[in-house]
Symmetry: C2
Subunit: 202 residues, 2 copies
């Protein structure tokens, strides 16, 4: 399998962390690429018309994306499972993952608005609307049960990718303030080899 | 079950069309709401901190979102199945669905840019970047096998929601030009009762 990724992408990090935790990382050839919403990458676009990372390409040439589907696919390849296979626990875990992905979508849109878009064209209401989604999701996660040990699940990885991205791109956001449980969770999970190996600053 | 939706949302339409096709529509209470990225809706935010539609709330109070997870959930409730349950066919179908969702994400971002954002703050490169994703996805779908009869699948519904949204919000896009197979597919699927019942102009 080949994975198109870029080191700063939190969605790519989610996939790579999951691959580490499932013991699959050695089966994946990591191919580093650069993509932005305003500059097409032809190599990635040939596999995925949306030209986004992460995009996985299987050995038979079939592409699998987006990040959520890639982790769902990887999760079927081993006995260890990052998401409950069925029942209410599955929908609860995958809704939490969707919430973490939504936090990241909003954070990325805020990042594009405040860093990529030419300064005179920025719209503060848009940024604040997106950051509102980020903060409400953080508050919801603060009230949830998280796991940072060997029993961690895909939603835990998603939440950690959200927190790590805020540290990486929004250091002024101070997400730890008033959120002691998330702070402790992140402190623990960020010591895992899968986390250290995927540090975007590394 | 209760579904928060808004009639113009193509992601909500996808869920409702799937519910019709699965014979589940009578089990879902449709609750119409208004949401935009810059105006929080407290009712929706109470169930989903991202404050997005569609959001499904189960009878026990558990929320299920986003749209992709909702259709995946609904698909487990009946014998009729909109996605292959396993194997390569599943990953192919769900990647096509992710591609249709990505087309819609890009179209919505282009719509927000050109209609919601104050005129002096618009950035044409952003709009063109998003529309590039839309057009490459359309070209990829033109080369794919689609079904518009009783054997239609979740990716077909996703593609139709993309085409319907372009007709609804981007009438100048002329997506039919040079895409005869998608044109014929849409002509057929848009006569289905599930489609007529969810017309955003209706």
């Amino acid at each position: 399998m080949k994975l198109y990724y870029s080191p700063p992408s939190p969605f790519a990090r989610k996939v790579i962390v999951a691959a580490y935790e499932l013991g699959l990382i050695d089966r994946i050839a990591l191919e580093k690429v650069a993509v932005t919403p305003v500059s097409q990458n032809d190599v990635v676009a040939a596999a995925n018309p949306l030209a986004k990372v992460p995009t996985l390409v299987l050995d038979d040439g079939q592409a699998v994306f987006d990040s959520r589907l890639i982790v769902d696919y990887l999760d079927t390849l081993t006995d260890r499972s990052l998401a409950p296979r069925e029942g209410p626990a599955r929908w609860r875990a995958l809704t939490e993952l969707a919430q973490a992905d939504g936090l990241l979508d909003a954070a990325l849109l805020a990042r594009y608005e405040t860093m990529m878009r030419p300064q005179p064209l920025r719209w503060d209401e848009w940024t604040q609307g997106q950051l509102g989604k980020v903060r409400r999701a953080l508050d919801a996660f603060e009230g949830s049960e998280r796991r940072a040990g060997d029993d961690l699940g895909i939603a835990d990885i998603g939440v950690a990718c959200g927190l790590g991205y805020l540290d990486f791109r929004f250091p002024g956001e101070a997400w730890r303030d008033g959120r002691p449980r998330l702070t402790a969770f992140y402190e623990t999970i960020s010591q895992r080899p899968s986390w250290v190996a995927t540090d975007p600053n590394g």
